[in-house]
Amino acid sequence: MKMQAQKLLFLFSFLAFMMGYAQIRVSGKVTFKNKGISEVNVTLKDTYDGATTDARGNFSFETSEKGSHILTFTHPKYENVEKNVTIENQDVSVNADLREQISEIDAVVVSAGSIEASDRKRATALLTPIDIYTTAGADGQISSALTYLPGVQKVGGTEGLFVRGGTGTESKIFMDGSLINNYFSNSVPGIAGRDQFNTSLFKGNIFSSGGYSALYGQALSGALMLESVDLPDQTSYNFGISPIFLNAGFQKLGNNKNYSYGASAGYSILSLMQKIFNFNTDFIDAPQGVNGDLNFRIKTKSGGFLKYYGMYNSNKMGVRSESLEPGYNFSLVRLNGQNTYHNLSFKQKFGKYLLNVGGSYSYNRSDLHFSTETNGAESARNRLLTDGNYINFKAVLERKINRISAVRAGFELNNTDEKLNFEEVQKHYKDLISSVFAETDLGFSNALSAKIGVRAEHSSFLDKSNIAPRFALAYRLAKDWTTSLAYGLFYQNPESKYINAPADLGFQKSQHYIFQVQRASEGRTLRFEAFYKKYDQLIKTFNVTPGKEQNQQVQTALNNDGYGYAKGMELFWRDNKKTFKNIDYWISYSFLDSKRDFLNYPVSLKPGFAADHTLSAVVKRFIPEWKLGANLSYTYAKGRPYYDIATQLEDGKVMNYTRNEGKLQDYNALNFSINYLPNIGKKDAKAFPVFVLSITNILGSKNVYGYNFSVDGSRSSAVVPPVNTFVFIGAFISFGVDKTDDAINNNL
């Protein structure tokens, strides 16, 4: 009996055991907006049981659990959902509808007007320092490389970024948020200044050809925001040598990787190349320059980051050109330029707040001497001396609201103090522009976000204030496809060089409307952008008859009655090693229709810096077997108009009129460069040289940037590049940093 009881008990417990393990099927479908979602992890909480949904969102699993349970649905891109289920003896069906999780990675960002080169938004067009160095014809200069992107025009004789029918001074350049007042070196008329900042100083840049953020101001057309590098990865030394320059530098990284400092110095002179090449420009003093910079970066114990960068640059040159004035053989101009720039910035997080403060000071001196030469004898020199002191200070406080929304607000002070000295003319120009701004990023969902901002400015010189609202919206049409819209008001003070007589002036104004569609996928970007830009209150000027030593007209501002527009569309396509192995190429095309009545234009005209069509293409090919990179670039721009405008006084009223006008021939340039890296992959190499050979304008096209006219308008001469075709060779050697893997990964 006992045995039977035991047997029964055993049987009973065995049955209970079996019952307990009887399998019940749990199945269902997981959806988001009625569409099935795959890869959702469905789990019967605190058991091993569960399943992953298939491509249609279906799941099914078996369980031996009984009673009341919780079924969880998890997926990194959706909010977690829990559902109560009661499992008895029948199969259970549970459906779930998930909600999208809003995240920074998936959220759509406003990209209308801007091209960003940062890792975060890698899908947009990128121009990293390496991209810039390997763009043939860019000369390693950021501003030149940007001319191969849509919206930026190749103008030539003047420095600056000419964006969508805007002048070079309508674009401003910022470093870590602070304005760089003299980004380009001092120049003489007809020869563009160069970038004074080292390209490798910046880890990324955001280039906006319109509709930019309320954090920035005083630029009617565009803004280039440069982000300086943080701590270097390791201590290194480098030097560079070529027939036109010599430089050396180092970066030292602290042992705990919490600070670094570095310095560099360089000297450049063009005289040797002048002997070899046939220069268009007659340099009486070959361009030469001395430059040096210093930096330190400190990570504070409390998590703050302090950065300093300072540089000094001086350049000299003298140019002789045939005089357009009767009675003189040549006109001469000599330049002695000096510039120093210091930037200190600090950022730290305080809980939900991020503080960013920065200040910069710059001093710029342009010392020009004009003279004439007749029958070998040089006349007395006229001196045009400009000294400028600029101080910029900016503080921005940012608070995150949720994962993808934020509010930012702050203020900016921008003080200008310029002294100009030309014979008996003494000008002292002072202006303090105080600005406040606020901006909010609003993420409604991963597919819809907006940016709303406002900026108010007061100029002490104009004694006027402005308020500029800005607005942008981005919407994801489909995976990889986004569209954005931007609108904004932008103000800019009249340039001080036009303020030479008393006049009641105000801010110049522009309005931007931008529409963009972009397809960005792995290694490929396609962008289409259409824009309309309306200008108001542009300054009108008249010519002050110049001396016969210089054929550049001096203009003075009269009023703010100018106006204009620019409209157009742009296409950009980049395929980064996706279609062709080792080949990165991009193509951009810009169509621009612009007219304006500003400065001394007598009527509304197509501006002399606006080409109707601009096409450029860049191709880069790396050949691993030869350790060689070969790069090609090509630019075509439809001929721009040129004008010779004179001023007449009629009944005490100023009258501008066009004496001569015409159209330049089309611009064409094909450039080529190669980089050879012989020590790549040599494990025990101590030095890593890079040899560079570049040829700009291989085809030798005779490009013309514009025309200069004599004071009476009867004679003219073309403004041409200093040299048609230029060959550069150089070696850059670095120690301490093994670029091997860098090169591999750059080129794989």
Binding site: K2, Q6, L9, F10, S13, F17, S38, E39, N41, T43, K45, D46, T47, Y48, D49, G50, A51, T52, D54, A55, P76, I105, D119, R122, A123, T128, I130, D233, S521, E522, P624, E625, K627, I680, G681, K682, K683, T740, D741, D742, A743, I744, N745, N746, L748
Partner: protein
């Protein structure tokens, strides 16, 4: 009565011991599945399985370890398919599991550091040009830690061999050198005894596969 008690106790023991082996059984079953997974979807489902086990067995480091491994394998398949844009999300998932595993297993677990290295390598592949200096450096750092902790680990040798194998000759890598290193890794695999039946023991087949490739292909 004693017997009743005994049989109850026995039944209880058998049930609890069954519960223990339940973990081992399901883990053994899922670990075996690693070899059969082919597509990113397969690996995702497997990662989810390990996640599920891990949330029940919250004191075991192996479930999150294998969840991370499955994620990384998913990423590696995606990478081979040229789909590198989504690797950040995959690496982030893997890192989440690795954090869990490390909390349970301690910071001196070479296997976890090796997976961290692999996760950083995945991140680097999103944009090698820009990320080499950050994620690439962190991958190298994790590899260094792993090596220091367990120099004889065959999986560390395997991943190093793989890195050499796929690095072009011009940059100091080579297929022949890689194969040599795979052979060394295989020797380590043959000498290696995992701590338990469930402990990491993957990679031997891969070393054998690379060694078995015809030599003309390794050129």
């Amino acid at each position: 009565m004693k017997k009743y008690l005994l049989s109850f106790a026995l039944a209880f023991i058998s049930l609890t011991s069954f519960a223990q082996t339940d973990y081992e059984k399901i883990m053994t079953e899922k670990i075996a599945k690693i070899e059969t997974c082919k597509t990113p979807e397969d690996f995702q489902a497997l990662a989810n399985d390990f996640q599920r086990i891990g949330s029940k067995e919250s004191s075991q480091w192996l479930p999150p370890y294998y969840a991370a491994f499955a994620q990384i394998q998913k990423g590696r398949v995606m990478m081979r398919n040229g789909n590198t844009q989504d690797l950040d999300g995959v690496a982030a998932q893997a890192e989440k599991y690795l954090g869990l595993a490390q909390n349970l297993a301690g910071a001196d677990n070479a296997e976890i550091h090796l997976l961290r290295k692999m996760a950083f390598s995945l991140r680097m592949m999103v944009n090698p040009q820009q990320r080499f200096m950050t994620d690439g450096a962190r991958a190298a750092e994790e590899m260094g830690i792993a090596e220091k902790l367990d120099a004889g680990n065959p999986r560390i040798a395997l991943i190093k061999a793989e890195d050499t194998y796929f690095t072009p000759e011009q940059y100091g890598g080579s297929k022949t050198k890689g194969v040599e290193m795979f052979k060394e890794a295989l020797a380590k695999f043959n000498a290696y005894k995992p701590k338990s039946a469930l402990d990491p023991n993957w990679g031997k087949a891969e070393a054998e596969y690379f060694i078995s490739l015809p030599t003309e292909k390794t050129k």
